[in-house]
C-alpha cells in the first residue's frame, strides 16, 4: 500500500464515517402497529373486522362476535384432488364440523371474483359458507352461528326491499315481513335496517353492483352494526401474487448493466494501456533509428 497522503487520509476518514453511519438505520427500526389483516403463511389475507375478537391461529383465521354468538373462520387449502377434498381438509383443520347439505347454493360475483355461497340450516345451527378456487388453492370463509342467532346471504337484487325479500327466502324465512325500514351508517356505507313484528329480530341490507348483501338477525343484538362488517372480509380479501420470477429478472438486468459498465471501463483502460505501450515502443524504435542515422531529420 502506498503511503497515505493528506487527500487520501481525508477520503479514508470519509469512508470510515460512512461505515459508522451504516448501523444507524439498523438501530432506528420502525415500530409496526398491529396489522389490519390476518395473513396466512400461504399468502391469503383477510381483513380483521372492528368489533370482532381475533382468535386466529397459525392454521386459520378466526373472529368471534361474543354478543351475537357468531364465529367467522377463514382458511385456505391446496386444490390437489378437487374442491370437495379441499373443503373436507379445511373443515378437518377447523374446530367446527362441516355444515349439513346446503338448503341453498348459488354463485355470487363479487369485486374479487366468483364465490360459491352455500346456506345451511340445521336447527339451531345456521352456517353460510363461501368458497373460491384461486390458483392452486381453495379459499374458504365460514360464517358459523351455533345458536342460529344471525346469518348472512348475498342474493341478486338491485332494490333493497326486493333483495331483502330474496335474502329472507334464501335463509328459510320467506314468511317474515318487514314492518319498518330505517337507514344506518356503518363506516362509509349506508345500510337499510328492517324491523319485524316477530321473527327475525332485524335484518340489515345493502345493494351493491346488482347484488343485495344481507345479514338477518334472529335474536336481538345491541351492536348490530358489527355484523355486516363480515362482508368486508369477502370483498377485501386478497392473495399475495407469486412475483418472484420478476424480481430475479430485475436483479439479472441490474447485474448485466453494471457488468457492461464496469467491463467497458476495464476493457477501455486495458486498450489505453496497450496503446501507451505501443506508442512507447514506436518512440523507442524511432529513437534507435534516429541514433543509427543521425543525418535524418
Amino acid at each position: 500500500m502506498q503511503k497515505l497522503t493528506s487527500p487520501t487520509r481525508r477520503w479514508a476518514a470519509a469512508i470510515v464515517l460512512m461505515l459508522l453511519a451504516l448501523p444507524g438505520p439498523l438501530l432506528a427500526q420502525e415500530t409496526l402497529g398491529p396489522s389490519a389483516f390476518y395473513n396466512s403463511r400461504d399468502g391469503f389475507h383477510i381483513l380483521i373486522p372492528d368489533g370482532w375478537e381475533n382468535r386466529s391461529t397459525e392454521a386459520y383465521a378466526h373472529f368471534h362476535h361474543a354478543e351475537a354468538a357468531v364465529d367467522v373462520y377463514a382458511i385456505t387449502r391446496p386444490l390437489r384432488t378437487g374442491q370437495d377434498d379441499a373443503l373436507a381438509a379445511a373443515f378437518a383443520a377447523l374446530p367446527i364440523e362441516q355444515p349439513a347439505a346446503p338448503a341453498e347454493a348459488r354463485t355470487v360475483n363479487l369485486v374479487n371474483g366468483e364465490w360459491m355461497q352455500q346456506i345451511s340450516i340445521d336447527p339451531p345451527r345456521r352456517t353460510t359458507l363461501y368458497t373460491q378456487p384461486f390458483a392452486e388453492n381453495l379459499h374458504v370463509i365460514v360464517w358459523d352461528s351455533p345458536t342460529g342467532s344471525a346469518q348472512p346471504a348475498i342474493v341478486p337484487g338491485e332494490e333493497v326491499e326486493a333483495g331483502l325479500e330474496a335474502a329472507l327466502a334464501a335463509l328459510g324465512l320467506s314468511e317474515a315481513e318487514a314492518v319498518s325500514l330505517d337507514e344506518m351508517t356503518i363506516g362509509a356505507q349506508t345500510w337499510t335496517v328492517a324491523s319485524f313484528e316477530d321473527e327475525p329480530a332485524a335484518a340489515l341490507a345493502r345493494v351493491r353492483s346488482a347484488l343485495t348483501y344481507a345479514v338477518v338477525v334472529l335474536e336481538p343484538v345491541e351492536s348490530i352494526e358489527a355484523l355486516p362488517l363480515f362482508f368486508m372480509q369477502l370483498s377485501d380479501y386478497f392473495v399475495t401474487p407469486q412475483t418472484a420470477p420478476f424480481l430475479y429478472l430485475g436483479l439479472a438486468a441490474t447485474a448485466l448493466v453494471l457488468l457492461v459498465l464496469v467491463g467497458s471501463i476495464a476493457l477501455r483502460a486495458r486498450a489505453l494501456k496497450q496503446e501507451a505501450l505501443t506508442l512507447a515502443a514506436l518512440a523507442q524504435e524511432d529513437q534507435a533509428a534516429g541514433s543509427q542515422n543521425p543525418s535524418m531529420p
Partner: protein
Amino acid sequence: MSVTTHASQTSAVPVVESEKRPTALTLLTIVTIIGLGIGLYMGLVYAGTDLQQGEVQRIFYIHMPSFFGAFVAFGATVVGGIAYLRTRNAKWDRLAVAGVEVGLALAIINLVTGSVWARPIWNTWWNWDPRLTSEAIMILTYAAYLMLRNGIENPEQRRRFASVYGILAFTTVLITLLITRIRPDTIHPVVIGPVLTDASMMNVQGDFELAATPGVSTALGINMLVWGLLLPITLLWYRLRLENRAERVNALKAQVLSE
C-alpha cells in the same frame, strides 16, 4: 517494460505506471462491494415481503436508490460543466463526461427495474405515464450528450458545448424527480416525501406504506447510501481515471507523432 532514459519512453511510463490505484479508491471499492452485499441482504432477506405485491416489490430497493445514484452522477456533470466554463480547465470536463456515463448506467438500471416491476403490478412493461415518459426523455437526452460530444472534433469547442449541454440536461433529471408530485394523471407512486398536490395521488397504482411491511425503511436507507452515494462515487472515480488515462495517451500520441 524496460526503463530507458529515452524521452518518449519516459513519457509513456507515467501514462501506465503513475496510475497506480490510490489507497482511498481501493478502500472505497471494498466498502462499496461490501455495501452492495449488505444492501442486497437487507432488500432480499431482511425486509419483509409486501403482502399485496409479493416478492417483486423488493426490486424497489434497487429501483429507487439507483435513480438517486444517477442524480448524484448527473449532478457531477453539472458541477463539472459549471467549473469548466469558469476555469477552462479540462479536468472538469472529464468529470462531466464521467458523470454522464455513470449516471446513464444507473438511470437505465432504474428504468429497467421499474419496467420489470410494472409487468406484474401494472400488467404492462411500459406505458406513457408522466414519470416514465420524463425518465425516457432524460435517458435519451444524456445518450445524445455522449453521441453529440463525440461528433465535435475541436477539443475546446467540444468541452464548451458539452458543459452547456450537461448543465441544461439536468432539467430533465429535476422534472423526472418532481413530476409524480405535480401531475394529477400519474399512476407512479410517491413513496417518500411530500406530495405537492392531493390530486397527484388519485390514480396511483402499486403504492405501498413504508410502515406496513417490516424492515422497509431500514433496507431502503442502507440501499440509498450504497446505490445513491457509494456506488456512483466509486464508478465516477474509475471512469474519471479512464478519462485521465485517455487524455494522457492522446497527449503521448501527439508527442510521438510530432517527433
